[in-house]
């Protein structure tokens, strides 16, 4: 299947007092028509910046410094203002991490959705107006005609998020990027929103790129998973494969460090020692090596490529978890309370660059 959206070698950086923040540091990404792709990784790994780069919405002083972004054969990085305006919304639209800051508090919700359509060319002014209640109904907001006339603060968190989805879908894009659409929501409301996204993907064939740090949410709706660490893809493949047989030590460790609601009780959780990396001062070799428990000599000096580790399955590591004999043995010996000897110094470096923003 040809990819509708393809990102190659993307690098996005911020020049700050402390140096260069390598927020996105060489990402390759493919999204096929109608697919559901999950991007996971911890805070600061570059998930949001990847999405914002695709829409060319990187905030100052950030810059895309390298790479290509292609949508349906068109070069996104070469688009002029007008082409970009049409591209955002008509082709790819995005739901942002924080729904309250992306809805205008002084404008009625229905009006904002209408404007999102008017500012593009797909629907006439009249059509734009008449589509609003239908769109709100599609995201299961009851009493849509009345609700359209209300202001954002009259909506609950879950309803606001659904209004954002309605707006994101208003121009019938081929790809919807949802950045942590459920993080601020409670579990029962999260389940409603996820169900919603699944239905829309099935009913309209909209491809969905779901950004989250929650592995369980990915397992719930995505067919393809991309795991990010320090601005790069460290592992990707079909969801079932990644969860059944993670090959990168980071993915492997992450899956063992989260308690599961269906787990057998009594087990110890695996801890990933140390801290997320400082993006202005990345370690040499594999960027995960300071926290990795399966290192070989090469890890300290040479960064691995994304290697094929199975059909469609890639991992950026000199080691494959399949080849590690008894990986859990380490877990049993690990001290429960590791002393973080040098962690203080590490954080200071990171704080300085953050303070310069």
């Amino acid at each position: 299947m040809p990819a509708i959206l393809e990102v190659k070698g993307l690098k996005t950086q911020f020049l700050v007092r402390g140096g260069v923040v390598r927020a996105v540091d060489g990402i390759d990404l493919r999204v096929n028509r109608g697919e559901t792709v999950g991007i996971v990784g911890e805070s600061g790994s570059g998930k949001s910046m990847t999405a914002l780069s695709i829409l060319r919405l990187v905030p100052e002083p950030g810059k895309i410094v390298e790479g290509s972004i292609t949508f349906d054969g068109r070069d996104v990085l070469a688009m002029n203002r007008d082409e970009l305006r049409k591209f955002r919304g008509n082709d790819v639209s995005m739901i942002f991490q924080d729904p309250m800051s992306s809805l205008n508090p002084v404008l009625k919700v229905g009006y904002q959705i209408e404007e999102a359509m008017k500012s593009h060319d797909r629907f006439s002014a009249e059509e734009s107006k008449s589509r609003v209640p239908m769109l709100l109904r599609r995201v299961r907001i009851p009493d849509a005609d009345r609700r359209a006339k209300e202001f954002p603060h009259q909506f609950s968190g879950g309803m606001r998020q659904r209004a954002m989805i309605a707006m994101g879908l208003s121009n019938e894009p081929d790809v919807l990027i949802a950045d942590e659409p459920t993080t601020a929501l409670d579990v029962t409301v999260q389940a409603q929103i996820l169900q919603q996204l699944r239905d829309l993907n099935r009913e309209l064939g909209t491809a969905i790129v779901l950004i989250t740090h929650n592995m369980a949410v990915v397992a719930n709706i995505c067919t393809w998973v991309v795991v990010m660490y320090a601005g790069r893809v460290v592992e990707q493949g079909p969801t079932a494969e990644i969860f059944r047989s993670p090959q990168h030590p980071y993915t492997w460790s992450l899956l063992r460090s989260i308690p599961r609601i269906d787990e057998k009780l009594g087990g110890k959780l695996l801890t990933i020692s140390g801290l997320p990396p400082d993006l202005t001062n990345l370690p040499p070799g594999c960027k995960f090596h300071p926290r990795c428990r399966f290192t070989v000599d090469r890890c300290f000096t040479e960064e691995p490529d994304l290697f094929n580790v199975g059909p469609q399955h890639e991992s950026r590591c000199w080691v494959q978890m399949d080849n590690v004999p008894d990986p859990d043995s380490d877990l049993r010996e690990a001290p429960v309370v590791p002393l973080e000897e040098d962690a203080g110094a590490l954080v200071i470096a990171g704080e300085e660059s953050a303070a310069a923003v």
Binding site: E42, S43, S156, G157, G158, M159, D186, V187, T188, V189, Q190, A191, Q192, L194, Q195, H213, N214, M215, A216, V217, V218, A219, N220, T239, A240, F243, R244, S253, L254, L255, S257, I258, P259, R260, I261, D262, E263, L265, K268, L269, L270, T271, I272, S273, L275, P276, R291, V336, V337, P338, L339, E340, E341, A343, G344, V347, I348, E351
Partner: protein, 373 residues
Amino acid sequence: MQQQSEAAAAPSSAWAAGKGSALMSLRDVYKQFPSGRQTVRAVDGVSLDVLQGETLGLVGESGCGKSTLGRVVTQLQPATAGSIFFEGKDLAALHGEDLRQMRRRVQMIFQDPYGSLNPRMTVGNIIGEPLRNFGLAHGKERDRQVQEIMRVCGLNPNFNNRYPHEFSGGQRQRIGIARSLILRPNFIVADEPISALDVSIQAQIINLLEQLQDDFNLTYLFIAHDLSVVRHLSDRVAVMYLGVIVEVANSLELYDNPLHPYTTALLQSIPVPDPVIEKDRTPIILSGEIPSPINPPSACRFHTRCPIAQPICSEVRPELLDYGNGHLAACHFAGKLQGSLAEKVAEESVAEIRAAIVADEPGGVDGATPVTA
């Protein structure tokens, strides 16, 4: 409106230490806040026992009153009504030295590791401050105790002269934990101690809390909205909805056999990090949002969202009753939703078996007749 369930009987006055007896008991505790001309009923009649040496998990959605209950238990806020017993003694009757001792032995770890540490104090002073407040140790002895507890909590003791902003989120949470442990408390209310942390760091804190419990014989009231974490850590779990406790059970029992429809829905809503399981799972999608604690629904607070609500649910408040082995639930139809789910699964498998038999029919066992419904 006041209800008296079996669990709500006042604890016996002769309190005996030991595993299984209640270290902290709440009886019909209310906490209300004025909000303009209205009242927020944050905690609305809670009776609960926290047993010596256990971890009692407290879960529920945002705004249901978990933190408020935690603050009332630790006496950071006074209850509006009701009684709280610590080691069998009514806190309302404690004065002077007894009250001080109780305050020393009951500590809280706060929800926000970023906001709860004074940025202008060194970490050593932050951790040692309770010792000073209680006049328990001075000078070198205080430093020694601070460094010791830092080591126990996985912090480098040589960093005691640094400031909080020099530490990561996970380390700041350790600082908060060290501070709450320095007085050697027996009972700790941990209010969402890991929610603000990165996934890869959360496990460090969970394991640390478990280790400290073993080393210091601590009793925890562990507050969180993440039921997976709570289940991992807790011996028993209490489920809260809009200011009231709707179910209490042993962790395993709660997961295998939830009695309250809200617990069932909550459990069903939690995604599992396993796509094979997720594929076959059909969560019960609760309609609507959580109502406001200013004007909570009448009688059973859950009736506006409950998939099996009947007229009685909006008329009579269900009591928290014991359904055996200390499994408490407040529902007129306890176990019915879970039961009907199990039945549905059973029905489906009967249908499957039937289909299989019919498909086999032509080449089936001689003389066997297909089952007809």
